[in-house]
Structure formats: structure tokens, C-alpha cells
Symmetry: C3
Subunit: 662 residues, 3 copies
Amino acid sequence: MGNFGVCYYPEHWDEERIETDISLMKDIGISYVRLAEFSWHKMEPIEGQYDFKWLNDVVDKFADAGISCIIGTPTAAPPAWLMNKHPEIFPVNDMGVRVTFNGRHHDCQSNKTYREYVKKIVTEMAKKFGHNKNVVGWQIDNEFGNGHGDLCYCDSCRQAFIEWLEEKYKTVDNLNKAWGCAFWSQEYNDFSEVFLPAHTAAGKNPSTELDFKRFCSDLIVDFSKAQIDIIRQYSENQFITHNCMGFADKVNYYDLASDLDFVCHDQYPGGFYLQMPHEDNAFLAQTLELMRSFKNKNFWIMEQQAGPTGWNIMGRTPAPGQLSLWTAQAIAHGADKITYFRWRTATFGTEQFWHGILPHSGKPGRRYDEIKYTINRYDELLDEIKDLESDAKVAIVYSYDNYHALNIQPHNPDLSYVGVLADYYRALYDLKIEADMVSEMADFSKYKLVIAPLQYILKQEVKEHFDEYVKNGGHMCFTYRSGVKDENNICVSDCELPGLLSEMTGIEINDYDCLRETEVTIDLGQYSGKGKLFADIITTKEAERVGVYTNNYYSGETAISINNYGKGLVYYIGCELDDNLLNKLIYSMLLQAKIEVKYKELDRGIEVVTRKGKDKTYIFFLNHNNYVAKLNKDLIEGIEVMIGEKNGLLEPFGTAVYVKEK
Amino acid sequence: MGNFGVCYYPEHWDEERIETDISLMKDIGISYVRLAEFSWHKMEPIEGQYDFKWLNDVVDKFADAGISCIIGTPTAAPPAWLMNKHPEIFPVNDMGVRVTFNGRHHDCQSNKTYREYVKKIVTEMAKKFGHNKNVVGWQIDNEFGNGHGDLCYCDSCRQAFIEWLEEKYKTVDNLNKAWGCAFWSQEYNDFSEVFLPAHTAAGKNPSTELDFKRFCSDLIVDFSKAQIDIIRQYSENQFITHNCMGFADKVNYYDLASDLDFVCHDQYPGGFYLQMPHEDNAFLAQTLELMRSFKNKNFWIMEQQAGPTGWNIMGRTPAPGQLSLWTAQAIAHGADKITYFRWRTATFGTEQFWHGILPHSGKPGRRYDEIKYTINRYDELLDEIKDLESDAKVAIVYSYDNYHALNIQPHNPDLSYVGVLADYYRALYDLKIEADMVSEMADFSKYKLVIAPLQYILKQEVKEHFDEYVKNGGHMCFTYRSGVKDENNICVSDCELPGLLSEMTGIEINDYDCLRETEVTIDLGQYSGKGKLFADIITTKEAERVGVYTNNYYSGETAISINNYGKGLVYYIGCELDDNLLNKLIYSMLLQAKIEVKYKELDRGIEVVTRKGKDKTYIFFLNHNNYVAKLNKDLIEGIEVMIGEKNGLLEPFGTAVYVKEK
Amino acid sequence: MGNFGVCYYPEHWDEERIETDISLMKDIGISYVRLAEFSWHKMEPIEGQYDFKWLNDVVDKFADAGISCIIGTPTAAPPAWLMNKHPEIFPVNDMGVRVTFNGRHHDCQSNKTYREYVKKIVTEMAKKFGHNKNVVGWQIDNEFGNGHGDLCYCDSCRQAFIEWLEEKYKTVDNLNKAWGCAFWSQEYNDFSEVFLPAHTAAGKNPSTELDFKRFCSDLIVDFSKAQIDIIRQYSENQFITHNCMGFADKVNYYDLASDLDFVCHDQYPGGFYLQMPHEDNAFLAQTLELMRSFKNKNFWIMEQQAGPTGWNIMGRTPAPGQLSLWTAQAIAHGADKITYFRWRTATFGTEQFWHGILPHSGKPGRRYDEIKYTINRYDELLDEIKDLESDAKVAIVYSYDNYHALNIQPHNPDLSYVGVLADYYRALYDLKIEADMVSEMADFSKYKLVIAPLQYILKQEVKEHFDEYVKNGGHMCFTYRSGVKDENNICVSDCELPGLLSEMTGIEINDYDCLRETEVTIDLGQYSGKGKLFADIITTKEAERVGVYTNNYYSGETAISINNYGKGLVYYIGCELDDNLLNKLIYSMLLQAKIEVKYKELDRGIEVVTRKGKDKTYIFFLNHNNYVAKLNKDLIEGIEVMIGEKNGLLEPFGTAVYVKEK
């Protein structure tokens, strides 16, 4: 099996069309397809009457052509006969509105009746295809969490949440304490009294909200696990995966991934409702890095953009070269296989304008040619670099608890957890420095610098993990709003801020200012600039001052500090810095950490990514500009071009891969 | 009966007031009134107990004064006793919220119980007034579709929709195929399984949505027909009509009109929640033209603005002269009679600030004087020009299917079907060229140029109708997003775009770009400018290139093409052009079509409208400016002033009518 | 008992902490605490099982320390056991959504079951603490009306509204007439047919809406009264109060206050979701003045801001000095006692970031020091000036009916009743002229000028009250949209506008223009400027013209008039003037009324407030600027500094109090 696949919906077209499609797929180098993840009705048209013949025929036809198959479980779109028989499966939003049929993801995953139906169809599928040699793997459901915020607020979910709480807290006194129910008379006498945090007259309990987010994630993980368990029972030599959605916050992907053989990601640089031509290049790279962190290993792209996106609203059309560039970017950041979405553009349904490789007419065109070129260019390389690691010396810490907690209480309406992480990643990206995304408890030993923004909720074990890393010589960078909360989303009160980080940072925060729509000015010595979102007014204890506020009543107070701790260094940045100032500060941190900043002077639009093997190191140069760019001689000295022009020229949206023996 | 009337609510005032009102009406030339369209409770205060005495007395008093009456059926406001007895009649929105009593249009028109009550009251009214000589006609309900989006999502509507689908598709397999239910497992085993396209977790089926819009329109047409059938049974020499609302999309007015003797329109240039002083002048004209198209004949104004509009929010106050100007505009575009809304401003209820001819105090003032002047000025002319046709050589095609389909999937959030039609009308209007609005299958033989923007859904018969027109020498102009869909709202896939128009246009569209918030630059040879919304990248086959893109990756590609087809010409405009560029292009089309562009140099604010009789042609000059304007001598050479100043001067908001023997 | 207190929640902290807290309170001069207003569950953890021991212990401990206690009834937060047993108590919004548990104010106050539970707990509390000598008073509930717009639209409220209407109107014919139910067939045959004015398909009856607002207010007043009656039965030497919220419109505070011994106010200059650092200084002052008007006597602050505000979103941090300044401002405007909210910042629950005097850590810091300084500075003065009156010669009229009616029908979306009142107050404030807020029927005899903007609804008795005041020599100022409506929210129709004010103003309004987003220009002779929102085109009868419109079709018409009436003067301002123009006009009115404008030249940020006793007059100078300001020698000649610097210097956010013998 090669390294490029495509999502295919034979049930959307006349039966005879598959011959043409297979022949065209072969022509461009497609070696596998994903099938059936939305075909419940076709597989079980009437309750209990299963029909897999059509799918088996399709799998056989692909087998004859040497194309492997991945099969999806169809649980993201239960059919009309089921929803009519059990309308209680439709989810309910926080205003009490029950959604209806006509889209997808209209299933409440806590509903026990629904679970029974899911069990039956997945069992039948697993029995039928678990031993089929041409079926190489399974996808569970589709984009969990797409479609409704926090799953649902129905009675079944209330019951499931209550059970989850009982399991977690054992006694209702524990619950009352953990959530601070003494506030506003919210104490419960019994778990059964707990209400879901739906629409209220005024205010909600942030601790309840955080646990509800965790519950919703656990529910999905459990829903997934139930399917995995069935499949594993009947399956042989088949992998099980799921197509994740980058920074989506509905499921804790670390948890979800633990049951999967590997994770997949759906990469749509063109976004969806974006005004811009496409997502920010740095954020695209960061998303791919995040995906690699979920199992701390390489991943697949299960849906790689193959044309303009669109439901009722369409995105911009990718310019010639961009589909290829974005494919190369995914490979560079650790995608072992690339599956394009979708083969041919649907003529009906919600996604009529979510374009596939082929247009509605089915005739090969510009996108077909570009993807053929891309597969040809990268298929062999992918065999060679599979499983290679990144060579990053910097890591950025990612945490669902902090993501949720700051969604619940953003402080400043403009403060977004992911936005702040993106600011730090972008500063590194612009310096052409690679960074891994890591979980809080990941092994930091390979990194010289670990950036952990917004450590708002901080557990003792995480603190100790950080502590050990720094004591052994690591450099860490923290920001405002760190050490504020315990894991129950309750403010620490036994010490001043930054709470558990006080010792490491060598500072104390006795005053702060939520900046709302205003800015502060900051002086960094050689540079000055602006800060926004939030300002911690730092009292340095053991730490030294790095930056100073120069306006407001705290003019002259410390904005940024640095502390020698053990053999390491700890930075604390009290404010969200403007791009330029952050860039300067990060640069000085890199120098301090003795990280080589080699490609800094390259054009802003050129991305540099390294994949390091035992013998060889591969360096990707990705030109996100719509003009020709050139790699200076001195930058490519000592490395050999493997893919791309010898003279260092990069076409608009062009790519090159260099290699050096290591 | 003269040509001017007024909407009158005797039940809102002390009984004796009617004498004063009649005398004032006579003074200004009012010859008919509209009555009773919101008076259900007054006519049936208790279930089954009818009281028409008050209304009969009113009709008699008007008869004595020589003033005719039009009576409205009161079905837009069922009374409290009925709504308390049958709260299931209250409509339900797509979020499941059932509306309540306190406004109007709180009736679900599919509800069978409600239909029974409607049948009874309309029957009683028809029996009572069907032979009354002073009752000249009937209005059915009031502004159908005002008040709730797509009627309603209640159980009764679901059942009615299911029946409508069964009638249309016969078998559920036909339905599944027509809607592309294979997408996301939406196949139905039985019609009874169909859900209404209400609020979903994610996405809707655009084919379902389009049929639901059609069903909602058909339901209203049926509701109207049921009343018409009753009235016709008991009525003698009385017309039946309805007051439509221009470009409102709730009812297909072509369908509704087919059961009516003529259509009426409610014309409120001051709009409602408008920030501007009033609607765009060109759009006002276009709305009137649209109204004329519904039965391809002249219409009435059933509500002509008589003062500032307002519910909780008020519009701007019309300046002296504007009420008169707007009346003249309506006449010029084909209104045979003008009914002002309303006689005296209501002191209570929702419409307290929707001002009538008389203020709250009931004392004649500025508006009274202006309307008196207006009636005096135009009453005779109206007798003379009744039934005269427009002399337009250009037509713009209007289609509810395309309106609905592009509302469902606008592609670009800024793309509005009516907005694009307005752009084309305005370009002609600014050149002082009149255009008729026409349906897709209208007789085009009188036109030299037919503009058909956004022929997104295109049926075979419509295509053939276009084809025949062009082959016989007609010129047609099409735009981007044409030939995309079949009548089921499914993308064509058996050929490239523009689908059924491929042959006529002589082009092929293999690539396009939804421009979102960006613009493209376009070169037209002599002129250059900008395009927005959407860009088709045109491959010319038989066609020739007229305009070229000059930026983006498709710089140098064709933006606008022209094709000789049969004896005619076909334009294709790949992008929404800026006002100036569109104006230039339309001008060249007019020249090409040998249409005289005579008044082009007149001040922008002066509108020119022609009504053509057997012997005479009437030319209206309408000065929308708040300053004095002058008609150049050469422009009015050979035509005689009939109404207005002899020297060609037009007062601010002034009007003139010239005449020439033909 | 001293003059400074704090809100305290012993149930949020470990039991032993109270000792430390008491000691710190004593240290800064706190002499009373407010307790228990959100502690229902702690007092009645299980239905019918009351536990007051913890609270009694707390009261005793405070007694030992010489600190008095105020106890709140906990009815703003019924506990989970109650809400599970009776979920019908949860309020329902106008879309039919029933709120749930997790915040506060989730109680429908018309619910009879709930009333029973309230009766029981309040009775038990009153019995327990009614004779406790250290309990000096009671607070009923908390911030009535906070949390849900118009209470609720549940079936119980519908029934209560129907009963309220029956009581008010006696016969359904009276109701139909009062509400103008003839409009849109809204007549009722029986009171039981009345629906609540919830979400409709289109439009509502403004008269119904106004009565519903009045009903909602009366319901709260009744809910409060029921508790007061119980407490008075068991209480001895204890006051009863409630913490109001300034300009909030949910309860008519005049009505609510009539049952209270005095009113309290919650003053949060930092606002809540404000972008600005804090509320406008003038508006803060006006809010305090409003509070003084509710019982026409001094009030308490029950919650005075003690740090940054915040729920999920945080406000800006008050700069050093601002907490002190805002305290002084409250005192200057008539607060007899100041209670800070809250003692220590909560670590859990919705208000984690609504900061108290102490931070989360409980360690005294900047805020503690500043409040200690403030108490020390003002405690004695408060003893001295208690009950002193303002010396204002100007009053601004405040009316809930007009507030509600203009919320229902704002005419211009930018028109806000409170906003217009604030414009007039600010014009005076900027001239350093104090103004009282007064109800329509207040005694005006002490004032030389009474400004009554937007007398939209005007009752005969109010008109007569105005009339008498002016005839006796008073000066009054009215604005556009006055005399428009009767008390049923129905437009007057027996005369031209300004209706009942026609004689006093000596003008007639026959035309007006709702300006929406446009402006008019106005010439005042010496000055010119702009007007917005609404323009009355004035016909002067007995009045003289003061200002003239200079654009639009009414250029040259009167915009502002003045009329000699009896011994007095009546101004009519036809338009909302820009700040500068209003300032000039108000200044000329002050001169005309012979009101001394002494401090006009002082820096804009300095507020001047006077409190007048029998022998002495106290003058507060409040520096809202963040820089040092100076009082010119001539301004402080003849007055002695009592608090503050002798040289007339005011620190940033600094205050000074001067005194003169009178």
C-alpha cells in the first residue's frame, strides 16, 4: 500500500462509474480509499436487516485494482427510520431546543437505546469485514464533536453526568466542596439533585462547567471505546483510528488517542467560514504539530483539502500549487499518509460545494493534475522518512483543562487560549525555529526551552514535572494567569500568585489589570512595544526584571522577569506582548538556551521543517508566497537537494526537500 | 369610482367620527375605502355569533357619500377566544418556539381546525356582502407571509409537507433520488419519516430546504384559494385581490396571482427599519415593475405610504413633495389605482406611529394638503392611461426558485439574488432605460435585450425558451452561477458549467473563485474596474472575450464573453461588476441591441418612465432630488407638457407628464 | 455602630478564619457586616429542618467584637432540593425557555408554592434573629430583578397578570378600551383570555407591554412586602431595607421603598462588562442622586466596590485612590453608611473575580490599606453630616412609566430614556451645578429650575403639578416626545402635541422627524451645533423662538422655544442637542433662573458637591483626574479645609472637604 489515498462515496454515483474512478485513481497513484462512514441506511435500510453486499462488491473491486480500503462506522448519521422510532436520541441544546433530522451528528451519545443500535451495526460490520484482507483498517464515527457544542443537555445526559460525578467524587460532600457549592446556596444533598449547567437566569458555577466539559469528552471517549472493543473482537491485522480536528475542544484527544492505533487529522487550510484566502501558515503548521503530540508519534491525514471548501458559503479557491504545498507541509510535520477529501465533488446534500479532486462533472482537471504531480513527487520520500522524528529543541505545552477553563472564564473577551498559544508558536515560526506541541506531563528532556503559556489550572504533579525539568537545566517560559486555579477550577488561596509557580519564577503577583480594549506600553531595554489582554504587576523576589511597564499607575513596575532556578532558567511574561516585542524576547530566549537560529533571515513566507533520521536529516523548504523565492547559497551549503530545483529557486507555492548525512 | 382610495378603520374611532371623515375624504377626492381586514372579533365576537351590522352601516354610509368599499377577510388576526380554545394554531419556529398572541399573523395555515373557522367566517361575510352593490371587491387576508419566516414547523405542517411530497414524488424512491438522500444517510423508507428542515446539529439538505420553501408557498396559495372559492360562490360583480409585498419571498406571487383578478402592492418607500431616508429610487421603480409582472398587467397600490412609517422604531419623515412624487412613480409604473394607508393615524396598537393622512388629532395638515393636491393632479390622467403598457425594450428575469436556492446557499455571504437583480436594474435606470421584470417563461418577443442574472437553477424548458428567443435575434445576458443546478437543487454533473447554457454562451467554466471579502480587477478595453462576490474563470469556445481579469492567479483569463448564437447575441458576465463598469457594459449592450438611449445625460435623480397607448405616449419625469431640476429643451422637443411646468422646470420632488402623439 | 461595614460570607471559609477576619476588620474600622443573603441551604439543608446555629455563632462572635450584623433573606437563591422538588419555580423567558439551576435568581416570584417556602424560612429566621440585639437590621432578598428581564412568562405569571388586570380594570370592556384592543382584533371576552406579551409572529400591543412591566414591578413589591410583614411581626428595633441597583428598570423603586425603612444601593463604578476603565463620573453622581430620591432622604451603600469586578469577564483594576474617591463621592451625594463588597475575594463560584478588600490569599494589601485610610478619613465626618440635605436648585424628573414606554417604543434605536436624562445631568455636572433627581409628583418648591425630559406619558395630575410650579415662578424645561401618550400608553388625539403641555409651552408640534442615523444643524444665535435622535418642528404660539433648524426641509423652523407662563418660564427643546450646545443652553437657563454658577471654570474632572446643615455647609471637591489638580484661591476663599490639603491641592483621585459657617 502506497502513501496516498482518497475518501470515496460509491453510493453517491451510478454503479458503473466505479470502473472509471478506479482507473483514474490508479493513474494518479491513489493506493487506498476510505469508505462508508456515512452509509448507515445503505447498510441497514430496515431495522435489523443488514445489507453489506454493495460494500463488499466495492471492496472486491478495489482489491482487484490493488487499492486497499478503510471502513468507517456510520454512527455520525443515524438514519430516519431510527430517529423516527426514537426521537429522544436527538440532542438538546442548552436552551432546551431539540435538534432535528436533516444534517449529521444528531445523536446523543449517552442515550442507552442508541448505544444498542450502534452495538448491533458495528458488530455486524466487524463480523463482515474484520477478516477481509483488503480492508486494512477502521475509522470510528466521524469528527467526534462536530455539530453540537457540549453534546447535549437531555435527561439521559443529566443522568450520565450524575453517574460520572458519583464515580469521581464518591460522596456528595466531596462534590459540594470540590465545586464550592457554598456559593449562592448551591449545595446538593444527593448526586441525583445535580442539574446540567444549561441556560440560567444569571451566572453559572465555573467548577460545574469544567466538570461538564470533562464529562462530555469522557462520554465521547467511552462511545468510541465501545465500538473499538467490538471491532477488535472480530478483526485481524486491521488498525483502528479516528479523524480528529486539530484544536477542536470537544474531546480530549490525548484520551481518545489512547485507544487508537494512531490518530488521523482533517486538514483544511481553506477553513470554512474564513474570509481570508486560507488559515495563517504558522497556525496550519502548529495544528499539524499538535496532532503529532496526541500519541507522541506520527499520524495520518484522513482528509486533506482537495479543492475549495463550502457548504452554503464557499471558501476561496486554492491557487495553483497550494494543494501541493499544503500536502508537503503535512508530510514535513509528521503525516505518514495523506488521504484527500474527497474523490469527486458531491452533486447533492449539504457538501455540494466542498470540492473533491474531480469536479461535479467527473472530468479530470487542474486539481487532478496537481495532485497527480504531488503524489508522484512525494510518494517515495514518504516511504523513506516514515517514523522519523522532529528535531525541535523547543516545545509548547497544550492542556485541555486550561483550554476549557479559559473558555469558561476568559477574563478579557479577546483572550483565547489557543490564540495565545498561536502567538508564541508564530514568534518561533517567524524565526524559522521548529517547536513541538506537548502535553503537560510529556517528557521534556529533548528540549532546551519549554514554553507553557496560561498555566491557569496547575496541578501539583505538573508543577513538580516542570520543577524537575528546570532544576536539571531546562529553560521554561510562563505567562500571566498562571498558577491561579486548582484542578477543580477554584482559585488558590494559600499563597499569592503565581501560586505553585512562585518558587520557580521567584516572583509574586499582588496586583493585576484586565486590559479590556486598552493597551499598556512596555520597555524591554533595547526594544519597547505594547502589551494587551491582561497585565500582571510583578514583584520580583529572587527573579530579575527584564521588562518594565511604562504607563498606567504601574508605570515602572516589572512586566517580565527571569529567574535562575536550579541549573535552569524561568521566564515570566506578565502581559500578552505585541508581535514584534514577543519576537525579540523569544529570540533572546533562544540565544540564552543556545539554540541555533539559522534561517532567521529567510523570506517570511518560507517555512523550514526538519525530519531527522538515524543517518540522514531531511529539510523541507515550503514557499507560502505567491512569488518565486530563493534560498541563499550559504543556507543550503552542505545539504543536497533531493526534491526541487538545484539552484535553490522556489516557485510560487513551491517546495523543496534537502538532505544531509548525519 | 375614481382612482384614489384609502384604508379606513371605523372600529378604531367613536361612531360619530365617520361623518367628519367622509366629508374630508370627499374634499380630497377619495372614492373608495378598504375595510375590515383585521376585524374578526368585531364580526364574530363569540364563536358562531356573527355581527355585521356595524360594517353594513359603514358600507351604507359610504354608499350615501358615493364612496365604494373593498372588504378584507380578517384571517391575518384570529381573535383571542379562538386562540385560547385552539392554541395549537399558533405557529412554531424552527427552534421549536410557539409564538403567542399580541400581534398578528399568529396562525398556522395548515391547521385543519383553523381552516374550518376561516371557512365559516368567510362564508358568512360573503353571504352578507357578496351582493352589496357598494362593495366592489375583496381582499384576501393581509400581506401573506408577513410575520413568520417559513410559516411554521408544527406537527400539522409536517403532516401537510409529507402529503405535498407524496403528491409530488409519488414514491419514496423518487423522493430519495430527487433529494440525494444517499448523502449522510438521509434515505427515507416511507414518506411519513420525513422531518421538517428545522434546527439541526450540523447542516441541512438544500434540496429538502428548497422543497419546503415551495411547499410553504403552495400552502399559502391554497389557503387563499379556499377563501376565493367561497367568495366567488356568493359574490356578484366583485373583484378579488390581495395586497402583496414586492420582493418578499414567502409566496410565489405568480402562483398566488393566478387565482386573483388583479394584484395589489403595498408600497412603502420609507421602509421600516431603514436608516436611510427612504429606499433607493431605482429599487422602488423595480419593485413596481415586478408587481406588474405577476399577472403581466397593471395592478393597484393597496397601501401607498401616507406619512412616516413606524412600529417601535420610526422611519424618517417624507419631505414635502415626496408623498406626491411616490404616488406619481407608482402611476407611471402601472398602478391603476392608489389606496393610501391609512386615513388617520392609530392612537393605539402596534402601529401607532405608522402615520396616516391625518395625524392622531384628526385635523387636516400638511399630508392632507399634499395628497389632495396629488389626487387632483393625477385622477383624470389615470382614467386616460389605464391599461396602457410599458414601452420597455429590456427585460430582467425573475425566478422564485433561484431566489430561494441562493438564499439557501448564497455562496458568498454578501451575495443576494435580489441585490444582484437590483444592480442590473439600477445600471439601466441610471441610463434612463426602462426595463420590465418578467418571469422565466414570459413572452420575450417585445424585448431587444433580456438580462437573466443568476440562472442558478435552470430547467430544460426554460433553457429552450431562452434558446428560441436568441436564435430569433434576441440578445441575452447571463452571469456567473448559471446552469449550476437542476430543479431539485442538485448540481448538474453531465457537463461542465454553465451547464444547459454551454451552447448558447459558447464558453466553459472549469474554475471559479468565491471572492468573499476581496475584489478582483477587470479590464474591459476602454474601461477597467472591479468585480466582487464571485469570479468565473471563463474558457471561451465559440464565444469571444470582452473583459479580462487582471489580478490573482487567473490574471489574463476571460471575465466577460460574448457569443453570436443564431441571429442573436449572448453575453456572459463572470463576476459582479462595480457600478461604473456595469454601467459601461450595459450601455454597450444597449447600443448593440439598437436601443435608443435618449435621456442618459439627465440629472441622476430624475427618473423617466413611458406609458404607451394606441394614439399617445405619456412620458413621466420624476425629480427625486431635493432641488429644482431642469429638462433640457432638446429632450422635450416634440412632446407637450400635460402635467407640470411648461418651461421644463421640476420642483424639488416635483413631477411632470409629457405627451406625444404616436 | 460606626459608618462603615462589609459584606461577609463566613460559610465560604474555614471556621477558624473568622477570628483573623474580625481582627482585621477591627483594624480598619469596620463596625458592621451583612450576612447570609445567599445561604438558604445552610439554614435549611433539608426541607423543614432549620439550622441557624452557625449563623447565631457568627453573630455572637461579631457581638463580642462590637461589630453589628445585618441579615439578608436568602430568597434570591433557592436550594437544589427545592428546585428538584418543584422545577415549575424556574422562570420561563419570552421564548418559552425555562432556566435551570447553577446561578441565582432562578425563582418565579408569582409561584404560590415558592411563596409558601419563602414564608416558612423567613418566619423561622425572624423568630430566631428578630430579637437579637446584635442584629440591627434586615435586607430582603438581593438585587431584585437581577437575572431575568421581565420576571417570567410561565403559566403562574399569566394567571397572576390576569388577576392583576382584573383588579385594575374591573371589567373586560375597560381593559379592551384601555389597551386599544380594537387594533388587530385583540379584544378579549374575558380576563382569562389574556395572553402574556411573549414572543409573537409580528408586533406587540404597547399598552399590554406597559401593563406587563408594571405588573412585574408590582409582583416584586408584593413579594418583598410579604417578607417584610413577617419580619416586622417578630422583630424589634431592627430596620428593613433592600439593595437597589440605580437605574435598573425591573422594579419601581419608589413603590418598593415605601415599605422599607430606607433604601440601599449597590455602587460599582467599575461596572461589569464595561470596556472603559469605569462608568462616566457624571453618571455615577446621578445614580447616587437617583437613589436619594426614592424615599426623598439619605440612603446606604450596601455594596461599594472594593476591587476589580468580574464574573467570566473582568473589569479594569481601580487605580490607587479610586476606591477612596468613589467612597467619598457616595458620601457627598447622601450615603449615610458605606458597606464594602466583599470582605475577601471568593475562591469559588460565579464571582471568583469580583474582588473583595482582601485578595484570594486573605493577606491585607493595597486595597486593605486604601480602605483603612478612607474609613479613617471619613468616619467622623459621616457622624457630623448625617441627614444633611443637598443644596441643589435644579431638579431632573425621573419616571418609570416613561422609562418603560420608551423602552417599548424607542422611536430611534439610539434613543434611551436614561441616556437623555444623563445628557441633561452631565451638562449641569460639567458646569459644577448640582441637581436632584425627583419623581414627577415631588415637591418642587426648593428648586429654581426643573428639567423634565421626555414627558412622553403625561397624566393630568402631573401636568397640574407642573403647571402650579411654573405659575408660582418656577422654570421648567421640556423636550421633544412630551405629552404624546396617556397613562395607558395610547396617543393623545384630542389636541395637537405637546398635548397637555400645549398651554404651558405655548407651542404646537404639527410635524416631526425621527432622525435615525442622521443629524440636524441648529442655530442658537450666539452658538450653533447639532441635534440628533428626533426633531420636533415647532410652531410657536405664545412662545418665543430660541433656536432654529438650519438644514433639511424644515430649515428656518423653530427647534427650541421659551414661554412666559404665569410667573415662570417654560423651555421646550425639540431635539437632542450635542454636548456643547446643550451646555450653552443650560448655562443660559441657569443665569435666567438666577442660579449662581460658581465653579464653572474648575478642571472638568473635578466634581463639586455640597451638603447643607443648619449651621454649616460642607463642600466636597472630588478629583476624578489621574493627575494633581489645584483649587484656585478665590474659589476656596471664605471656606475652611476640613479634610484634605490646606493649599488647595488635590492628589490624583484625591478628595477634600471644605466647610463654611452658614
